[in-house]
C-alpha cells in the first residue's frame, strides 16, 4: 500500500501557498509517486486554518500533521523523514485527531471535512456517505419530512427557521414543478463554513438536496454560489459530474423512481442576494431586489413555483439525520437549538478556524479555549457575532451561551455562526459607520428606510465624529435606527442598526 500525503485544496490553504507545496512534493517525490509508493491526495481542510497549509501523512498510528508549512520547509521536512511520518521537524504536530482544537469538537456536519478527497465518491461512501439517501429512498416523502422536523434542525443560514416546517409547506403545495434551491451566497464577513463544507465534502450537500427533492417532490435543484468562491465552483461541478456518472443524480436514482438534477449558478457580487427572495430574483435573471412576503417562497418561489430554499449547512446536515436518525441529531444541543453549530472564529485571534459543537458553549470558551486569545497579543475588546448585521458584544456578555434564544434575549443574533474578534485598538465609532457604509453599498434599494436611511446614517455618524452637536446627533442616530428597524422589508435595513446600536450602547466612550 502506498503512503498517502495530504495537501489541502481548500481556498484558504491555497491562499497561503498550498499549491506551491503540492508541486514541490510532486517533484521531490516523483520517483516514489511513479512507483506507487507515495500518493499525494488533495483533501479539503480540517478547518484548523491558523495551521494551514496543514499537511498530513498517513501512518500505522493514524494521520500525522505538519503545519503551517511554507515552501521553504519542504526540503527539510523530506530530509527529516516527513514522508514516513517522522516527527522530528519542529512543524510536526503529532496525530491530527489528537490536536486539542479538533479533539474537543463534535463534528456531525463536518465529520468528513479534511479527511477525504472531496471529489472521491468512493471515499465519501466509505465514510457513511449516501447512507441517508439510501434510507430515504425506502421512506415516504412525509416520513422524510417528519425526520427532519423531529431532528429540530433550524435553518443554519441565519434566520433559524425550522427546516422541517418549511419542507412540509412545500410538500403540501400542489404543483407540477417544484424546486430545491441552495443558498450558497455566504456573504457574511467572518463566515466560511459553507465554503469549507462545499470544498471539503461537496457530496454531503448534493445528498442533502437530493433528499429534499425526494421529500417534497422536486426534480430540479440549484446551488446559488457566490462568485467569490471559484474553487468551490470547481469542486461542486466535479462532484456533480461524478455523482451523475454513478447515478446519484439524474434519472431513476439508484434504480428508484426519483429523478433529481443539480446545477450550480454563480452570483455576481451582491450581498443582498443572500436574502432568499433576492436570491430567487437573481436566479431568474433579474436585479436582486427583495420580494415582499407573503407569498412565501415555499408556495411561490423560483419562477413562481413552490421552492425549498435552505443554506448549505442546513442541507448538509440532512444526510446524517436520515442516516443516524432524528433522535441522534436532536440529542445534541440545548433548549430549542438542537444539533450542532459550526462556529467560525475569525478576525484577531491566534487560532482562527471552524469549531463545530453542540449549542450551549459560551463565547468566552470559543474565544480563548479555541481561539487562543488575540493574535496581536493585545486585549480583546469587542466581538461581532453573526456577520455584518450582528451585534458587537462587549466582554460583559461573553458568558452568554451560544444558543438562538439566549442570544435573542440580549438582542444579539447567532446568524450563520461567524465571530469576528477585535482587540483594544478598534475604534467602535468607525465600526458603526462601516455598518452603515456597507448598507449603502449593498442595499437593493427597494425600501426607503434602508436605501436612504443608511446614507443618512453614514452622515450623522460623521457629524458625531466631527463633534457637531454630538448628543443631539446620537439621539438622531437612535431615531434613524428605529425607522430602519421597523420600516425595512428585510434584514438588510432591519438589522443594520444592530451593530450600530450595540456599538453605541456598549462602547459609548468611542463616540463622545
Amino acid at each position: 500500500m502506498s503512503t498517502r500525503i495530504y495537501v489541502p485544496r481548500d481556498s484558504s490553504a491555497l491562499s497561503v501557498g498550498a499549491d506551491a507545496i503540492a508541486t514541490m512534493l510532486r517533484q521531490e517525490l516523483s520517483a516514489q509517486i511513479d512507483s506507487g509508493e507515495v500518493e499525494i491526495v488533495r483533501n479539503g481542510s480540517r478547518g484548523l486554518f491558523w495551521l494551514e497549509p496543514l499537511l498530513e501523512v498517513e501512518t500505522d498510528q493514524g494521520r500525522v500533521a505538519y503545519g503551517p508549512v511554507a515552501s521553504e520547509d519542504v526540503t527539510a521536512l523530506l530530509e527529516q523523514g516527513f514522508a514516513q511520518g517522522a516527527q522530528d521537524h519542529p512543524l510536526a504536530l503529532g496525530l491530527t485527531e489528537e490536536i486539542d482544537y479538533l479533539k474537543k469538537q463534535q463534528r456531525l456536519t463536518f465529520k468528513r471535512a479534511g479527511i477525504i478527497d472531496p471529489v472521491s465518491i468512493d471515499e465519501y461512501q466509505a465514510h457513511d456517505g449516501y447512507a441517508g439517501l439510501r434510507n430515504a429512498l425506502n421512506m415516504s416523502p412525509q416520513d422524510c419530512v417528519d425526520a427532519v422536523k423531529e431532528s429540530g434542525l433550524r435553518g443554519r443560514g441565519g434566520a433559524a427557521f425550522p427546516t422541517g416546517i418549511k419542507w412540509q409547506t412545500v410538500l403540501g403545495a400542489i404543483s407540477e414543478q417544484k424546486y430545491i434551491v441552495c443558498n450558497a451566497d455566504e456573504g457574511d464577513s467572518g463566515t466560511f463554513a459553507d465554503r469549507l463544507q462545499m470544498e471539503a465534502d461537496p457530496y454531503a450537500l448534493l445528498e442533502g438536496m437530493t433528499i429534499a427533492g425526494l421529500a417534497v417532490g422536486a426534480d430540479k435543484g440549484y446551488i446559488y454560489l457566490r462568485e467569490e468562491y471559484p474553487h468551490a465552483d470547481q469542486i461542486l461541478n466535479e462532484a456533480i459530474a461524478i455523482a451523475k456518472e454513478h447515478n446519484f443524480l439524474g434519472e431513476a436514482i439508484l434504480g428508484s423512481e426519483l429523478n433529481f438534477d443539480i446545477e450550480v449558478r454563480l452570483g455576481a457580487k451582491s450581498y443582498i442576494c443572500g436574502e432568499e427572495t433576492a436570491l430567487l430574483e437573481s436566479l431568474e435573471g433579474k436585479r436582486g431586489m427583495v420580494r415582499a412576503k407573503p407569498p412565501l417562497p415555499a408556495l411561490e418561489g423560483l419562477f413562481g413555483k413552490p421552492t425549498v430554499v435552505n443554506n448549505v449547512l442546513s442541507f448538509s446536515s440532512v444526510p446524517i439525520i436520515l442516516d443516524k436518525g432524528a433522535d441522534y441529531y436532536a440529542s445534541f444541543g440545548m433548549g430549542r437549538s438542537r444539533g450542532t453549530m459550526p462556529f467560525q472564529l475569525a478576525g484577531n485571534l491566534k487560532q482562527p478556524g471552524l469549531v463545530e459543537l453542540a449549542f450551549g458553549i459560551t463565547l468566552e470558551e470559543l474565544l480563548y479555549d479555541f481561539g487562543g486569545g488575540s493574535r496581536s497579543g493585545r486585549d480583546l475588546r469587542a466581538v461581532q457575532v453573526g456577520g455584518p448585521l450582528g451585534t458587537y458584544m462587549p466582554k460583559s456578555q461573553w458568558k452568554t451561551e451560544m444558543d438562538y434564544e439566549a442570544l435573542a434575549a440580549i438582542k444579539a443574533v447567532l446568524g450563520h455562526g461567524g465571530l469576528v474578534a477585535f482587540d483594544d485598538t478598534v475604534d467602535m465609532m468607525q465600526q458603526a459607520r462601516f455598518s452603515m457604509e456597507f448598507c449603502v453599498e449593498e442595499s437593493c434599494g427597494k425600501c426607503t428606510p434602508c436605501r436612504i436611511g443608511s446614507v443618512r446614517g453614514v452622515e450623522v455618524i460623521g457629524k458625531i465624529k466631527n463633534r457637531e452637536r454630538p448628543f443631539e446627533n446620537i439621539e438622531l442616530l437612535h431615531s434613524l435606527c428605529d425607522t430602519m428597524e421597523n420600516g425595512s422589508l428585510c434584514a438588510m435595513g432591519g438589522m443594520t442598526p444592530f451593530p450600530v446600536r450595540s456599538a453605541l450602547e456598549h462602547f459609548e466612550e468611542d463616540f463622545i
Binding site: 481556498s11 491555497l14 491562499s15 466560511f192 455576481a268 435573471g285 433579474k286 436585479r287 477585535f422 462601516f434
Partner: protein, 162 residues
C-alpha cells in the same frame, strides 16, 4: 486592452455568449458573466442585442448590469485587485492594505490605472476570514497579507505587464 477590439468581433462574442446560455432557465446572469469575463466589461452598445434575444427591454438589461458589482460598463484593467473591506480583515489590518494599494496605484476603488493595467475593487468578504487580511487577483486569493507582500505582488504584476 490597449488595442481596440473590432466592433464586429465584440458583437460576435456577445452573440456567442447569448447562444451558449439561452437554453438555461433564467439565462441573463450567465450570459452577462460570460461577456464580462471575455470582454472585461459589458459594452453599453451591446445591451440592445442581449435584450432582443431575451425579449426584454434595454432598460431591464441595463438595470441588471448596473445592479451587480461584478458587471461594469467600462473596460477593466488587465489585472483586477480586489481588496477585502469586511470586518474580519479590518480586525487584522485590512484598512492599512487598502491605503497601501490606493497610494501605490494612485487610484481609488472602482478606478483603473492610466496605463490600463490594474483596476482596484473593493470586495466584501472572500470567505478567507481565518487567514485575514485577504485580497484576490483574478482567481487567486492571497491570505495573511501584509503591506510588504502587497508591495511584492504589485511589483510582480507590473513586471508581468511591462
Amino acid at each position: 486592452m490597449t488595442q481596440t477590439i473590432d466592433q464586429d468581433a465584440v458583437s460576435k462574442k456577445v452573440a456567442e455568449a447569448i447562444q451558449a446560455n439561452l437554453h438555461l432557465a433564467g439565462p441573463l446572469l450567465p450570459i452577462l458573466r460570460q461577456i464580462q469575463s471575455e470582454l472585461g466589461h459589458i459594452p453599453a452598445d451591446q445591451v440592445g442585442q442581449i435584450a432582443k434575444a431575451l425579449n426584454l427591454s434595454r432598460a431591464e438589461v441595463h438595470g441588471v448590469v448596473s445592479f451587480y458589482h461584478s458587471f461594469t460598463s467600462d473596460p477593466q484593467g488587465k489585472h483586477i485587485i480586489e481588496v477585502c473591506r469586511a470586518e474580519s480583515c479590518q480586525a487584522m489590518g485590512g484598512r492599512m492594505l487598502e491605503s497601501k494599494f490606493k497610494q501605490d496605484l494612485g487610484i481609488d476603488f472602482h478606478q483603473t490605472t492610466d496605463d490600463g493595467e490594474i483596476s482596484l475593487e473593493a470586495v466584501y468578504c472572500l470567505g478567507n476570514c481565518a487567514c485575514s487580511p485577504a485580497i484576490r487577483v483574478g482567481e487567486q486569493v492571497y491570505g495573511r497579507m501584509t503591506v510588504e507582500k502587497a508591495e511584492n505582488l504589485l511589483n510582480e504584476l507590473r513586471g508581468e505587464s511591462s
